[in-house]
């Protein structure tokens, strides 16, 4: 097994070692999380201030930035460019972000700037699943 793959398989502990410690210390966990989102959707026009607000809301809602382990993990994922194919955490976060924007209201129009609308909460706005039969009703022939 190649060393790089082996290190990635080992996961967080090794990942933290593999990343230069100066780099980890230099970036805030907020910036790292925003970077993960921006990496994931690099082909979209993203409102950066909205991403920062989402990150602030995320940490306010979950308190995840108070967990040392999560902070190290977030920074490591950012520096290693771990995407949603390789991480359930990244998938969950990036999906939550995009669900909290106007992207689906704009019918996934990639030419429009993606703006953060506020924390996605299906209990506040039920029936908002953008792929459901409400938005794609059966075709009557």
């Amino acid at each position: 097994m190649r060393r790089r793959s082996f290190l990635q398989l080992l996961g967080l502990g090794t990942a933290a070692v593999a990343v230069p410690s100066v780099g980890v210390a230099a970036s805030s966990v907020e910036n790292a999380l925003a970077g993960i989102i921006l990496n994931e959707f690099s082909f979209l026009k993203i409102d950066r201030a909205g991403v920062d607000q989402f990150v602030a809301d995320y940490y306010r809602m979950t308190g995840a930035n108070k967990q040392f382990f999560m902070n190290v993990k977030t920074k490591a994922y950012y520096f290693l460019k771990i995407d949603s194919e390789r991480s359930q955490l990244v998938r969950t976060l990036t999906q939550l972000y995009l669900m909290s924007t106007d992207f689906f209201q704009n019918r996934m129009d990639e030419s429009k700037e993606v703006k953060y609308l506020g924390w996605y909460n299906p209990h506040k706005t039920p029936c908002a699943n953008p792929f459901s039969s409400i938005y794609y009703p059966p075709v009557v022939s």
Binding site: Q88, E110, P122, H123, P126, N129, F131, S132, Y135, Y136
Partner: protein, 478 residues
Amino acid sequence: MKHTAYDLVVVGTGFASTFFLKQYLSKAPASAKVLVLERGHLFPRAERVKEIIGEKSAYAGLNPISNDTFENHKPDKDWHFSVGFGGSSNCWYGCTPRFLPSDFRMKTLYGIGNDWPVQYDELDPYYEQVEDLMSISGPAETPYPRKKAYAQPPHLFTAVDTILHQKYGKLYINQPTARARVAMNGRNPCCASAVCSVCPVDAKFTIENSNFRVYEDPRVELQQGAQVYGLELVQDRVRKVSFRQDNKDHHAAGEVVALGANALFNANILLNSGDKNPFTGRGLGEQLGLQAHVYLDNLQSLGGSTWVNANGYMLYDGEHRKEYAACLMESSNAPFFRPESGKWRHMASFRMIFEDLPDHDNYVATTSDIMKPAIHFKGPSDYTLKGIEKMKQRLPDVLSCLPVEKIIYDQPYASEAHILGTTRMSATAEQGVVDKHLRHHQYRNLFVLGSGSFTTYTPANPTLTLSALSLLSAHQSF
């Protein structure tokens, strides 16, 4: 309490207790005296929604958080349930497939586990009753035999589901579900919000919205905030039920007692009471599930009408169960997507759910706190883990009718939110705790209800079956 002695004392107000009580009341005389002891309190759905969206609720904090109610000796394994009136009907997701006939005959057919003392054909009319009472949505054809149509039309497929249904017929069906397809009995249609634990639109069946009115029946006295911790067992009979309410101990005499707490607490109550059956508390288990994300070439999965559109049985039953676990597929309709330009919904996502085997070394034990059981769980069996590996080998072929680009597997979930075993059903006392009527083999006026009674742990969701067992038990016993 209004009385010191009752014809029936029921513990808990979840599915198992409520269906049992409903059947009992249909047969009991007008003079019957029934005491129901519920550990928690009613926390209405609308108030739960308020709490979730950050509004104040007068009900918040009334009920304990489930994780605080037991000692977990394997912290990476979760056990989900809801404390309060209506039990886990308040947090379930409303998936209601029946078990297959073969699920009840695992020993005979596959040499695995044990056969259930009740078989599919005998349970069939009770399945039908529960399905009607819950107004289940489901398809015309199912992989298990049914005699009448479901009460509600089926939920809608996506294009991916349609292709799989065309290939596999009744092995790939619209999921039978208690999430309403159309408005009925005060419930609204499901709109795929995918947060079913507390449904934002009141689409799923719960005890609160059931309209059964069993707890308003004049024969029934409901005591909330009353946690049962023990039974007085004398000469192979239950005499009294002991419970704590408002920091005081109380004792209620019952001609018949039905334990309808979950499998953790039914076992704890029995063990606290001195039940010496070697199977009591043993064989704790549940299924194991993981998500498979399937990227598709130019095929979108759009238009499903509920949280889980479909169930796939292609990896479920067969000779392979002699060697490894059955797998039930759930076609997800959560708002997942693929982060690639122009390919957002060019994917499907399936929850793959595997059966497990009862293991004597997975168990519930008492602690120094009489109210608080301890959970000892080693983890899934090799039978289940082999099922996962075989599924990964077989799934590409199963999905070969789809333009699959790749499949991404998540790690297994920490829980399927089902708690099985600990008072398993058997033909004799040498093999289990209760008989096919859920009556304790030794204490014949004691019923131990719920999924703790399951003899083996099929991949199908347990609620419909445990509810049908409660109906069968009360119907054939009174």
